[in-house]
Amino acid sequence: MALDFLKVSSQIEAMAGQVEARGPERAVKLDRAVRELHEADPLALEDKRHRAKTTFLVPGITGPLSLQVPCPSTPPDFAVLASDGSHIDVSRHAAARCFLINIGLVELRYGAAPGARLESYPRLYSDPEEMAVVDPQDRLRPQLIEGQLLGIVRGIQELQALADFAESLPEDMPALALVDGTLILLSFLGQTFPDYVKRQLLQDEFLAALTRLRILSEKRPLAVAGYISLPGSTEVVNALRVSLCPYDPPDCDAHCRVIQPGERPCDEVDGLRDRDVLLRHLQEGERSGVFSSQSSVVRDWYGEHEVRFFYVNLGDEIGRVEVPAWVAQNDGLLSLTHSLIVDQSRRGHGYPVALSEAHEQAVVSGRDRQEFARLVEESLERRQLTASTSEKDLSKRLKWL
């Protein structure tokens, strides 16, 4: 049976009513947040943050919270590279144990000699050795690459492919290399994976690819950035919470553990996201100041690639741009990133066109997935190899009465 929308629609209406009712209260919070953005003393706040013990993540403050940087002009000739990926996960219902990663890569050149490269690189993995991360000290307990870990491996390959592409750029052409989403491999935050997995995937592969890009940037103006559309993050708002906190040093557990949610002093800005506050604050094309991520994975592993981020007003929405520290600390590369993100979004009707084309190259549709499963089955059957799919999978495909 399909979802009973008759039953769901009334619940949706009720939810919309609640959102509407919260409107006036939210407007007051937004005013308060924007005021605090202007009033907070960055040096004092950074000092307070260092001493604070919060239950939420507060970014490092590198300048005034209210900074508004106008969009710099783009260079006359430049290139934008972007990568994206999708995958077909291991299915225990399928005939063979395998997964597929499809990487989409795009290079767009603008200026006197415009041009484009749109490519996709699908690769099938079925060799057991390639399908697991193995601890050299304990080969008996491999970490199988599937589910969440496969998503991480794919993200690593997106960055590696971008570094490969960047190597072919002419040395005098300013370029921005874009990945879709965050540069922070968030999944590691949960400490789900053992250290050897982090070392092999994060240090030896992901950060190594960032290092390749950094070395390339020594010879040419090359910036690398992760772009997040409609970000849900609340780190700047969390900084405002610290700023509003009457306790010094702030210590959530010591002072506010038993206080009703909504009653804490910092709840004056509760429920807001960074994008809500910055959409009110930044003019079109402007970026915010640069903040530094304090996530534990960045602190513990990223070193010279420590992640910095800023927000940028792209007209219809606020985008979050993450860059490694070596980009953030180089005014030229930071300006290049800012101007090309704004330019790309203008060309892409609100979203960087290179990323949207990379997505088109990478995407594996539902139909492609079915076709892939069919080809795997057929190929195995041709060789008289057992190719039975599970009865559950069959029953999903054959919708009999």
């Binding site: 795009v106 767009l108 050149r109 603008y110 415009p114 041009g115 484009a116 749109l118 060309r347 009707h349 066109v353 084309e357 088109e360």
Partner: protein, 195 residues
């Protein structure tokens, strides 16, 4: 955009006994309506461009207007360099003959061209040789995939390849009058387009 005569202009992407579809190698660079093209090496097959389309490579992605704030059409492509790769030009060709042992045959070849067969725009010499005899007109007029506009365009272009264009046009006019006996209105239409 001008296409070099005799140049390789595209590749067969769909083929049947009496027609084929080719994708132009470069966006918008299909030979003009009525141009004579040749494909296949074992059995060179000749056909006429009867219909050309340009659209998105991905049928699910429709082009959107992009030039409102740009000075001219060329700027739309310069500012969006990916468009050249996301759009494609295809041309439909009606087969009107083939070559067998070096002789022109104004009837269908034994089979359709292969997919990915290269398509060349015929040189003036090839056009002259193929249209020396007017037998191809019958196949063209009776094809369900050809329009009279394509027929007249072919005759007009062929006339320019013959030493005396006027004599060729008169000869073609007479042949058309014979083939379109009893279809006065249609004949008038074709002849009017030859002028």
């Amino acid at each position: 955009m001008a296409v070099d005569t005799g140049a390789r202009v595209g590749e067969v992407v769909e083929a049947s006994t009496d027609s084929f579809v080719a994708q132009a190698y470069r966006l918008y660079e299909a030979p003009p309506l009525g141009a004579l093209v040749r494909t296949g090496s074992d059995t060179p097959t000749f056909g006429v461009i009867c219909y050309t389309t340009t659209r998105g490579v991905d049928p699910n992605r429709r082009p959107i207007a992009r030039g409102e704030h740009l000075a001219d059409e060329a700027s739309v492509y310069q500012e969006n360099p990916q468009l050249e790769l996301l759009l494609k030009t295809e041309f439909n060709v009606v087969i009107i003959g083939h070559e067998e042992s070096g002789s022109v045959r104004h009837y269908l070849p034994p089979g359709p061209p292969r997919i990915h067969a290269f398509v060349h725009q015929c040189t003036d010499e090839e056009v002259r040789k193929f249209t020396q005899d007017l037998g191809f007109l019958e196949l063209l007029l009776n094809s369900r995939n050809a329009s009279d506009d394509a027929t007249s365009a072919l005759v007009r272009q062929a006339a320019l390849c013959h030493e005396d264009s006027q004599i060729f046009l008169v000869r073609a006019g007479k042949e058309l009058a014979m083939l379109l006996q009893g279809q006065g209105m249609r004949l008038n239409g074709v002849l009017r387009r030859l002028g």
